[in-house]
Amino acid sequence: MDIIYILWLRQMKRYRRSGLRMVLSVVQPLVYFLTLGFGFNSLFQQAGRGSYIQFVVPGVVAQTILFTSIFWGVNIMWDKQFGFLKETLVAPVSRLKVMLGGSLGGATIAVLQGIVLFIIALLFGFHPYSWSMLLLTLAVMAILSMTMVSFSSGIGAVVNDMQGFMAITNFLVVPLFFLSSALFPLDNIPPVMKAIAYANPLTYAVDAMRGSLINQNHFSLPVDFAVMSGTLILLFYFSIHRFKRIQA
């Protein structure tokens, strides 16, 4: 427990000391929220679908978390390059704890950023349908960030150069985001796109977020949570397996 805690704490300290990074990482989703939210709002309303701002906030909160967590593996790369990883790898602690400590740190940061974006959205007029359901939103955020952070750590463990890592994550993150239900409803889209969105685990996280924030579900909360948990277990398993095989 001490070990996981101290490795988590390390990430918290690094984050607090990163200065500008804290601010910058919410800028991109904020731009999405403001331009898309206000840009499409009247169109969306004319189509009889209600407020687009309400609709898109769960999507951009998920985006904030996705973008922060999927690049988390950069930290593993960094630790590899600058040697700190060796310090943890020769220590008499299990790789599971090493990975868990770091990943929980990354997940905490991603959730914090999601919360920041959510608060900004509140200031711009977003209103959740039930305050008590926010606990569920928090759970969605936690599962999503932990899933993506560990997946990214797994990629960071396998890949040995920074360019390669950036290429892989960029290749993944754009389709993951745009082919989910983050920006548009799923009911009237072409079948191929729909099929892809259904196969995209992020869709279920966005759906669960939408369900808990504005009470709109394409699937249902139990389905969303089942898919999310399954994905978390699968990707965590992949990553710990890769992490154990790191040689320095």
Binding site: I3, I6, R17, F84, T88, V90, P92, D161, Q247
Partner: protein, 267 residues
Amino acid sequence: MQPIISVNNVSKKFKEVEAVSNVSFDVKAGEIFAFLGPNGAGKSTTIKMLTTLLRPTEGALFLSGHDVIKEQDAARKVFGIVFQDPSLDDELTAYENLELHAVLYGVDKKIMRRRIEELMTLVELWDRRNSRVKTFSGGMKRRLEIARGLLHHPKILFLDEPTLGLDAQTRKLLWAYIQKLNANEGMTIFFTTHYLAEAEAIADRIAIIDNGKIVASGTTEELKQQTQTNNLEEAYLELTGKTVRDEIVDAADSRKDMIRRVIANRR
């Protein structure tokens, strides 16, 4: 008595290149052992295999009776290491780096505070304990790494070129402390260096590795006799020749180069 470090017929191949080839040697408990060789001879690769960072292609290694491959955790508890390259977290303070290490090694909290103060005073960094490591010079980082390697009082201490880049004063101070630890606590010291005078002055026994093979081992006296030379440096040159070596660039090194280039481009 059973040797505390035992390397039996160990080889390590990186794709085509055999960095270490069928190496065997033993180190007795309480010995100060110098592992010498030209650049790229296989020193660091051997240390990495001994410290569980690399798996050997063939052979077996034992630390204090624990099989390094099969009983990794037990083996990891036995040693401390000061790496050739820095391995500190630059964003953390000096104190935080040591604290993290102490927790990883399960050092008791009360002992931890006392020992951190003692070691940081020794390496003359106690006044800078709350500074972030990124503000430290190369020599200061080195000293901090050494303090960290000693923090959990390991049975075996690996030092991979510990005095590289340190001034004469600090080198002297450091070796004096290491000799003290060796004498008082019976800590086994395994080190590599390019300063042959250091090895001659400090090591009980020496092994020389070249092109992945052990070419000689014994006390300084034995090596001098064997080569009919007057000091360790002459003996060393007699054994390893006078040509300059290219280091085998392994994956880790080429990664580092790439990162450096990326960073340089950003600036």
